[in-house]
């Protein structure tokens, strides 16, 4: 094997490794978006518990019982994590 060829091969391996690392990082970020959103919703619920009328439902009308913004945020995070993120992360890894 010539030195030039070996050098090119090593450089190619380095690029492939960097590409694999970049893909893994992007997959991890996409997978983390959902849990980060859920965490945001949980923190909001703890900071402003009065936004959750379900915690004190007595005397509340039906719309106030449906309107639970921190729970909406948590649901969005869960839906994204369970429905969208897995396929995206999988495709990032196997993309050509």
């Amino acid at each position: 094997m010539s030195a030039d060829f070996a050098h090119r091969l090593r450089r190619h391996d380095g690029e492939a490794l960097a590409d694999a690392r970049s893909r893994a990082l992007r997959a991890r970020i996409v997978t983390a978006l959902g849990p980060a959103t859920v965490l945001g919703g949980v923190i909001w619920a703890v900071v402003q518990p009065w936004r959750l009328t379900l915690l004190h439902p007595h005397g509340q009308g039906v719309w106030w019982l449906i309107a639970e913004p921190p729970l909406y945020v948590i649901v969005v995070g869960l839906v994204f994590r369970l429905v969208i993120a897995p396929s995206v992360a999988e495709d990032v890894e196997r993309a050509p």
Binding site: L33, W63, A67, P69, Y72, V73, I84, S87
Partner: protein, 198 residues
């Protein structure tokens, strides 16, 4: 009678905030992985344009039932129109019926129209109430962020432009979640704004 059984305006703002939050997450993940990876599963390419279009349709009943002045109605109508236009153009691109990348300019147009509508239809000053403050903030935010989809039309692979466009919807969701029908803003509250509740 109808007003008694209808949800309050702030609830509707929170529901739209939820849709925009999902839209933001979808666009952000598309920006992160790139269009090629995102398009590996055809159903994904329809996600954000479809959601945008549906939110445009849902804006029409909001316009019909929640507006109490002509300018308010025009603002909500314009949001419904640009949401549907933007969603439809992106659906056309995703389906392959539209080919030019410049169809993405509709997103920028949507933000400019939306921002202008926010600013024009808010007749009160910034610190009149929380709703007034949020309208001004939303308007200027939409106008500033319109630069990102504009850049995206000319540089479709730009990570900064795509992430900026996605983050607009997350910021929009946060601002809409902050909205209350009648509430103070940073300690300010006009005596003419109404009686705060909850």
């Amino acid at each position: 009678m109808i007003a008694g059984i209808m949800p309050q305006a702030e609830f509707v703002h929170w529901w739209f905030a939820t849709g925009f939050l999902m839209l933001g997450l979808i666009l952000l993940s598309e920006a992160l992985v790139g269009r090629e990876v995102w398009a590996m599963r055809p159903w994904r390419t329809y996600l954000w344009p479809g959601l945008c279009f549906v939110m445009g349709i849902l804006m029409w009943p909001v316009m019909a039932f929640y507006t109490n002045s002509a300018i308010h109605m025009v603002a909500h109508g314009s949001w419904a129109e640009v949401l549907m236009l933007c969603g439809a153009a992106e659906l056309g691109v995703a389906r392959g019926k539209l080919h030019s990348q410049y169809w993405r300019l509709t997103s920028s147009l949507a933000l400019v129209v939306s921002g202008t509508a926010f600013l024009v239809h808010e007749q009160n000053a910034w610190f009149f109430s929380r709703a007034a403050f949020l309208h001004h903030t939303l308007g200027w935010t939409a106008l500033v962020f319109a630069a990102f989809p504009l850049a995206l039309a000319f540089r479709p692979r730009s990570l900064v432009a795509a992430s900026g466009f996605a983050s607009f919807f997350i910021v929009l969701a946060v601002l809409l979640y902050c909205d209350r029908d009648v509430a103070p803003i940073l300690g300010h509250f006009s005596q003419f704004a109404g009686v705060p509740h909850r």
